[in-house]
Symmetry: C2
Subunit: 214 residues, 2 copies
DNA sequence: GGCCTAAGTTGACAACGTAAACATCTAAGC
DNA sequence: GCTTAGATGTTTACGTTGTCAACTTAGGCC
């Protein structure tokens, strides 16, 4: 009898990340509400309670996804910023676009990232710091824009809030679209607007940024 | 023996609306995810499956809330529009503000209204028509604004989309706040921005509307 | 080489959404 | 005014879920 090539699988080896990945994959096409830990466990091929060695609860899994999300978002934004340093106008638009694109590419993470603000941020300190860092990326840019006279001279939270509204609004509406599987009704004006938004998010960002231009 | 003063309670009389009301009350302070039909039934004082005579499923209850929501929203917007007819600038701002205020006053309905777009709009025709009507309120206003030269002359879906982004973004972020029960961190810039937004949503609306002004 | 501990499993529990069969009330038609 | 069909509410049951406690396995450290 040949040597057993399949090594012992009692220990999975990377179960924590497997759960996060499987959950993200699921959440791309369905809501957090309907996610079943047991179903994930079945997919991965472990027992129905294996995840308890890695996540204290279902919400803890979601929090882990959100933390991952904040870190990825921060990276994406930083990269966009470094890539377009020459002209502040371009920088700002590209950062906004990077935010939106990341959100629609990773709707499940963005959803968690936003939902996490609602529910249990106090319970997960790492989540709080991750969220602060992400928002600082925005306020720093706004401050710079005010300093160089690119934006109107108003309080930072006011301008940051307005721009957050814009990118979050776009991301949120586009996620609606990405989850509406087949409902691209031609006669639905709301769907039309979302379609328009989807095909050229940069145009809308550029438009809305005008409102805080000096 | 005196006549029985308590009439028969076998039939509740208004169970459908009671379920909607109880669900809304619950959803004001918690997520749809955690809502339990059996708990609602217990509160109302009926059996755990009584709702099946009125709602085919849990999602159907949510859809009913969303339909209610769309109708209420339409009413609120129409009223705001009629109340401020004199100056188009005022009209438009007030309609946006009415949208936002309604959303934060009825977060559970707004949430359902938005979530319904994601999940099962195709299954509930009444939901589709209700959502179309609400969006038409916006496009009609935009068309008028373009016609009188108040807005820049661009495609309606483009401008409507941009303004939808704004009011939905504000509403969405403010709902985040309203559900963050105690977390008004002073040192959290994101919370600061939301607080600012909350105290004067009109200012942000007026600011963002500038971006599509002629 | 034996043990400690992290990682995974088993079995159990209460709660949930849903379904089918049953009970009760209400109103419409004769 | 009685009958009866249909609407409304109940009971019982099933499969699934999140979570817990107790158990088993495996790999690294002395």
């Amino acid at each position: 009898m040949p040597k057993q090539t399949v090594v012992s699988r009692y220990h999975h080896g990377n179960l924590r990340q497997s759960f996060i990945d499987a959950a993200c994959e699921y959440l791309k096409h369905a809501s957090a509400e309907s996610l079943s830990l047991r179903e994930l466990a079945r997919e991965i091929g472990v027992s129905q309670t294996a995840h308890y060695r890695h996540f204290k609860s279902k919400n803890a899994l979601f929090a882990a996804i959100a933390i991952d999300g904040f870190e990825l978002l921060h990276k994406v934004i930083s990269e966009a910023q470094e890539k377009h340093e020459e002209d502040f106008s371009v920088t700002f638009t590209e950062v906004g676009l990077a935010y939106v694109n990341w959100a629609i590419t990773n709707p499940e993470k963005y959803q968690m990232l936003h939902d996490s603000l609602l529910i249990d941020i106090a319970q997960y300190p790492a989540l709080l710091t991750a969220s602060k860092q992400s928002f600082e990326d925005l306020t720093n840019l706004i401050e710079k824009g005010i300093a160089i006279g690119f934006f109107i001279p108003r309080a930072v939270p006011e301008l940051a809030g307005a721009m957050w509204v814009c990118v979050h609004g776009i991301a949120s509406l586009l996620m609606t679209r990405s989850k509406m599987l087949s409902a691209a009704d031609v006669d639905n004006p709301a769907a039309q607007a979302i379609e328009q938004l989807s095909q050229d998010p940069r145009a809308t960002i550029e438009l809305l940024v005008q409102s805080i231009r000096r």
